[in-house]
Symmetry: C2
Subunit: 304 residues, 2 copies
């Protein structure tokens, strides 16, 4: 069995893409053909069924152009057990199309609880994928159990390091007595905890980090400190990250980062047809999404 | 509809208890009468069924002595949609016994994703409870959506501030240029974000914080900065917190904190009968848990 970093890099070479599409399904953004929002009998079964159909359509369209899909757990958890059933079906459908699955769960806990989360997302659980995002607020007690399970199952982690949202600075950029910022200290911790995992055919670690596309200077700096840790890079597209900034995320071999885009792709028909997206057909939706995902992939490749 | 802080304080007055029992079900810690771990046909249905029966037994025994139960999401998520079905059933069973439900989810995300998580745990979702734990690593972008939903649904939040685990210091205690530690800066942020929510009959906020029982000095300090924010206090019992330290968590009115204990209570039969816990009857299990939960409640009350 191949380790996650090798699998991911091999797929990105084969597909000539480092793009990841986020699966953040919201019924309010879906065309009428998928769900009739005026239906008074709208219930959890109807909603979760629409979400599954939406996800399958996205996967059908994007799978030749992206290396992975990234389900955002909140949009499934909100529907309880039925939502998780859709997640299970989405994950297995994505795998059947040759896609890697990165569960964007941002879980963080300690000890046996962290191990349970790691097993949920990386182990033999019904919702396991190929990698999971992890929140480091609890320190190495909260990270090590995920690393252990990731080694055990040859799966990947992306530890939040510097996120792309406007208020990220409130905690992550606090200036320390040492002169460093909090995220520098965190980068050192990630480096220490992942140092034994830089292995495999391509010499990358499967223990990676989340670094927002909105900070090119941070990217340069983090790339130096963590040259062989894979970065998951959100904030491209909808969150305002500039494509030219992305170049700092890649090593000379063109590897080292995967770039995620969610609503900029899956709801691209809303941008293209702001007046009449609700009434488009499946065919038009697919055409717009396909053109958008190809453009995003090519834009990213132009700076690698 | 009453706000969470009033509900919680009223229940704690009525029951003369500020104890919360964590529901962290693990089949490896359950007596044989609940599950036959040697069964070769052990499948998700058998496992999740045992978990539901275990939780119901715990709830039946502890409900007169505790104000709330605290399901730890990881132990349900590991079984995917079937696990969340058990969570739904556990939550509704606990509510039927008059217990408040605090989902220990430690979720943290931004924007519409954070709103989706908040709606999952506080809104009209199948897994909604009375309060949820939140991870603040993403700053106010990650906290405000939870606060908005908590006000909208009159529910509670407990934001991780200073956790009880040994490596919590790695991030939370980093010394800032200002002389403060990271958790002081976070306390100021929580104070700012929750300042308009100190209302209701008892004058407490429903936007609270998680402060570990292992740090009495931190408790004193945080109690001063956040006098009217409710604290959820883990680390009592199994994690080594000393009961006498708990006094710093309470205000003069005896309110201000709720104390959680999980495996120290729900698996107390393992401590009491280390050699033969696997073969105990339901009756013996119930007796031991009842004695333990009463003792914990009384110990905590003795320092309030």
């Amino acid at each position: 069995m191949k380790q996650f970093s090798d699998l991911l890099i091999e797929e990105s070479i084969k597909k000539e893409s480092v793009l990841v599409v986020g699966l953040d399904p919201q019924v309010n953004n879906m065309p009428n053909y998928l769900i009739n929002r005026q239906n008074e009998k709208l219930n959890l079964n109807i909603i979760t069924n629409a979400i599954l159909n939406f996800n399958k359509t996205i996967i059908d369209v994007v799978h030749p152009y992206v290396v992975a899909v990234k389900p955002q757990l909140a949009y499934y958890e909100i529907y309880g057990s039925l939502g998780l059933q859709v997640l299970e079906q989405t994950i297995s459908y994505a795998k059947s199309k040759g896609l890697l699955v990165i569960n964007d769960a941002k879980r963080g806990d300690i000890g046996s609880t962290a191990t349970a989360y790691a097993q949920a997302f990386l182990g033999n659980s019904p919702i396991n994928g190929d990698a999971v995002t992890v929140n480091p607020f609890l320190g190495s007690d909260g990270i090590t159990p995920f690393i252990n399970e990731s080694i055990r199952y040859q799966k990947g982690l992306f530890i939040l390091l510097k996120t792309s949202n406007p208020s990220a600075y409130e905690l992550q950029d606090l200036e320390l007595k040492s002169g460093d910022l909090v995220y520098n200290a965190l980068a050192s911790l990630i480096k220490k905890l992942s140092s034994d995992t830089i292995t495999g055919k391509y010499g990358y670690s499967s223990i990676g980090a989340v670094v927002g596309a909105t900070y090119p200077n941070v990217a340069k700096n983090m790339r130096e400190i963590l040259p062989k840790q894979l970065f998951l890079v959100p904030g491209f597209g909808a969150q305002g990250g500039d494509t030219s900034n992305l170049k700092y995320f890649f090593n000379a071999d063109g590897n080292g980062s995967i770039i995620t885009s969610s609503r900029g792709i899956i709801y691209s028909y809303k941008n293209e047809l702001p007046e009449k997206w609700e009434t488009i057909s499946k065919g038009i939706m697919e055409e717009i999404i396909e053109a958008t995902v190809i453009r995003a992939r090519d834009e990213i490749n132009s700076v690698r």
